[in-house]
């Protein structure tokens, strides 16, 4: 009997057996899994660290004011890019937009301690439809570009705080070639599964630049026509693409971004954030691009996110807004938690009656010109332009009120008191012309209509006076020192909005107004 243990014919099969075992072991222990596992373990570690940090941080014992009804809440949406631990890489010193991790931590913990709780995009949509159940202090946190550092540094914080966030993902990077900078498809899947992250679109290739003229100057993908060199076969002349080609190019990019993300993650994409916050403003060769980008984008995405600037009005989102455009606040690189909190609280709905003696800034924002608060005065001057405009943030829900300002009008031709202001193109106002008339005005979509005007015999004086505007239903009345001068009837479409002050002079730097006190009170119901 053959008593050898291993025979020749078994050796080959042993080799196959070894390969099978190796395949099965590698199936579970492949480097990709191991790396993910390592990173996920670090996330868990950081999560526990934050949990402990939260436990040992003393909680402020401030009385929580009664929350406004959901329809009168404003929703701030924060925007971040990457998160850095290194000052040289962050926006503080470098050119990048990344925020320092310690700032981000301080911001998130400050928000949480102040009672802010994140909501999802679905809740935001419901909020606009008037159907949401929101936390007392709702907030949304968004990230652009889907950078690895955003996830790996923010996620444990969100986990500890119970927050969630939206990641505007560049599908061309996330689903394309592997990258050390951008999050990969599997990482995004893990994020979605955690329930703390929602993926939305940040374009497919549209986060790139394209040649805009023959000299090779590059511009943003979405807002410029592309300059094409002569192709090899010579059938095409060099030059800019046609408007139709331009439209087809951006349409296909936005559509493919949506489709590829939906297919990759099995989710529905409803939001789009404009790359470089450019929907026509930064164009180099196609001034009309905004008129194409917005309809195209809104036909594909119900919600279009952009970083608001003061001319677009309030810093936060209001429930009555129907436009697809959604405002975001880009958090500057070196912002501490308290600073951010202050900024957000300035944008929240203020209660009526309201009075402001300018001990601190309660949300006054300059649209143009110069507006500063010093010596308990709001100083408005057209320092390097012909006019200056300022408005009060967080007043967008106000309706039917008297707005009066104790003013030291030093110089300038016009002083305009604005009410029911939505943004720089929609408001009701009283225009006081130095030495001239008083006009009750209605401005809609940047088109002004004089409702009624009066020319007092002595004219409107400079100096210390109280100017006022009152809105009661359709009635717009203008006051000087408490005396009604003129009142007109608006068409009533501007049913709510906040307050603002504008001044103008034909000469550059010629307008100068100091506001000493502002009073706003609800209009007493008019007698029938």
């Amino acid at each position: 009997m053959d008593t050898r243990i291993i025979k020749k014919r078994e050796i080959g099969f042993l080799f196959i057996a070894f390969i099978i075992c190796a395949v099965v072991v590698l199936k579970y222990y492949n480097p990709m899994y191991l790396e993910t596992f390592g990173k996920q373990s670090l996330l868990q570690f950081a999560y526990f660290k934050y949990i402990i940090q939260m436990e040992i941080t003393p909680k402020p014992k401030t009385a929580i004011p009664e929350a406004a009804p959901d329809s009168l809440k404003t929703i701030p949406i924060l925007l971040y890019h990457g998160i850095s631990t290194n000052k040289t890489q962050s926006g503080v010193n470098g050119e990048g937009r990344t925020v320092l991790l310690k700032d981000f931590e301080s911001q998130m913990f400050a928000l949480h301690a102040a009672g802010y709780r994140t909501i999802t995009l679905a809740q935001f949509v419901a909020f606009r439809e008037g159907k949401a159940h929101l936390p007392d202090k709702p907030i949304m946190i968004t990230f652009d570009d889907a950078i690895k550092t955003s996830y790996y540094r923010a996620d444990p914080i969100f986990h500890a705080l119970g927050y969630n966030a939206i990641m505007f993902t560049i599908s061309g990077h996330a689903l394309g070639a592997p990258s050390r900078y951008y999050l990969s498809k599997s990482e995004l899947k893990t994020m979605i599964r955690s329930g703390r992250w929602q993926v939305e679109s940040h374009g497919d290739l549209s986060h790139q630049s394209i040649p805009t003229n023959a000299t090779g100057i590059h511009g943003n993908f979405l807002s410029n026509k592309m300059y094409r060199e002569k192709n090899r076969s010579g059938t095409q002349n060099p030059g800019l693409e046609t408007t139709a080609e331009y439209q087809a190019r951006i349409t296909s990019d936005l559509e493919s971004a949506k489709n590829s993300l939906e297919k990759a993650f099995g989710i529905q994409i409803i939001g789009f954030a404009f790359p470089f916050n450019d929907f026509g403003q930064a164009t180099k060769n196609f001034p009309g691009s905004g008129n194409i980008i917005l309809p195209v984008a809104s036909s594909i995405y119900p919600l279009l996110f952009y970083q608001a600037w003061t001319e677009t009005g309030y810093s936060q989102n209001y429930s009555y807004e129907q436009s697809p455009l959604v405002k975001r606040i880009e958090v500057p690189p070196n912002t501490s938690g308290t600073e951010l909190l202050e900024k957000i609280e300035q944008g929240e709905t203020k209660n009526l009656p309201f009075s402001d003696s300018f001990n601190q800034n309660r949300g006054w924002l300059e649209m143009w010109g110069s507006a500063t608060i010093k010596n308990k005065q709001l100083v408005i001057s057209s320092s390097d332009t012909d006019s200056a405009s300022v408005f009060l943030d967080g007043t967008g829900y106000w309706t039917n009120y008297d707005f009066s300002a104790s003013t030291n009008w030093i110089a300038g031709k016009d002083l305009e008191m604005e009410a029911h202001l939505k943004n720089n193109q929609n408001f009701l106002s009283c225009l006081f012309q130095a030495g001239g008339g008083v006009y009750a005005k209605e401005t809609k979509n940047n088109t002004s209509e004089i409702l009624k005007d009066v020319f007092p015999p002595e004219g409107v004086p400079h100096g210390n006076h109280t100017f006022g505007i009152a809105v009661d239903g359709n009635k717009v009345s203008c006051f000087i020192d408490g005396d009604a001068i003129v009142s007109g009837e608006s068409d009533g479409t501007l049913a709510e909005g906040g307050i603002g002050i504008k001044t103008w002079d034909p000469e550059t730097g010629g307008a100068h107004v100091n506001i000493e006190q502002v009073l706003v009170s609800t209009t007493s119901p008019s007698q029938p």
């Binding site: 009997m1 053959d2 008593t3 050898r4 243990i5 025979k7 014919r9 078994e10 099969f13 057996a17 099978i20 075992c21 395949v23 099965v24 072991v25 199936k27 579970y28 222990y29 899994y33 596992f37 893990t190 599964r193």
Partner: protein, 534 residues
Amino acid sequence: MDPSATFFYSQNTIPPPYEGNLSYFSGGIDNSQESFYNFFSKDSPSAPLLSLQTSETPLPYFPFVWQQEEQQESVYPQKISGARVLSRFLATFIFLALVVVGIGKVVFTADNPYLFLYLYGVSVTFVLLTVMFFSITRYRDPAEATDNAENNAIAFPYPFPSAFVSCMIAVHNEEKIITRCIESFLAQTYPYKEIIFVNDASTDRTAEILDWYASQGLIQVIHLEKNLGKKKALGTAMLQAQGEIFFFSDSDSVLAPDAVEKSTLIMAQRPDLGALSGHCRALNSEKNFLTKMQDSWYEGQFSVRKAFESIFGAVSCVSGPLAVFRREAIYNYIPAWENDSFLGQEFRFSTDRTLTGFVLGSRQIDAKLKKKYAGSPFVEMINYPPRDWTIAYAKSIHAWTEVPDTFTKFFKQQVRWKKSFIRNIFFTGTFYWRKPFLVSFFYYLHVLFVLMGPFIVFRHLVYLPMHGNALSAFLYLSGIAFVGLMFSFALKREEPTSDLWMYRPFMSLFSTIFLSPLLFYSLLTIKNNVWTRG
């Protein structure tokens, strides 16, 4: 020689004895005709454990004198260089590989969106690991205890007939192989037995062969006029059986010469045992790839799975080729067995599993079955009280059975087995949970695995590849082959010089791809009771 060598037979001549492949047996069957009458001859080449004193003088049949002989070498001699090292190495490798893969599954597939699939994958590995671990480290062959002569002398229940064995075999149209079976019974070393063959209305020359052996006084034969099926045929035999121990085998099987002896010793020493299963392998292993595959498969089914169940005394299926039952444990339930019905129809399959079920569930089924069949002679004659029997598996008691050598036959057999399995979920499954936790938990898990198997296979081999994940089929089949390899290594431990282990992964793949979907066919045709052996 080919075990299925053609058997020439004419009516007026004594049929030549079986000349089978003898290499299976430790000693081989003695071919000489005289050996039929000289079981206890000192020349017996099989040198059994239980044997007469070797002396020059002829020995009386009774009383027995017990003598421990020099330990018989097992089928594979102990003196294989490196066998012990190899055995240790393979056992360690099996545990390590399964632990590594199991932990890998737990940790790195935790992101599986389907919790059920995750748990399925993890539990398959850990069940296998546990079964392997227990069967390798905890299983003790009950025959080991009987090696001690003093114990044997004390425990063996003399005087007879309390250790009288009734060997019963049902036969239906087996003229080509029945002689082989009869001869293997005649070659048994154990003397105190009767051999009853039931001819279940064979239409070929089976009856003539049986009658010839009966006429020589070697066996008893019962001829049935009508084909009644295996259960009723054996029921008839049991009515006239004298023994306290029932020893069943199949007409297509062959026993090791010491099979009856060893099992009787065990049954005598272990009064808690209600039944005992032997170790069964393929008789025609060398024939082709398919039979080799099955042979390697049988080894694992017995020495791993049955060994695991045996540790808890709850073997769930005492297999037909070598099944030993205590009369006390089954006698009253034979009418229920004969008249087994499922979905309102006589159910002819599931002979082994159901009979085992009676022993396992004695306490649960006793009153009901005795009441239902109160008029039956099996119940009227004597009333055995229900008991908590245990059932063991003895690795060292060998039997060999003919396995299907064509795919058609194999599929037919597997359909039959699947039907028996399904039928038995509704019988054994109703009380098996009373058994020790681990073994009963694994029993129900196994049922779940078998039922889910086709869906898992479909998902990995059809659905996922169709949805772009072509790698999944490859990885899944690798996983199946890996499980097969674990059984391969377990087999290599048992038979260090054999290369049969190489066929085991193929059996796993074959079983997964082709056999698991047979579940549906079996379910659909479960009322179709026709028993054909291909």
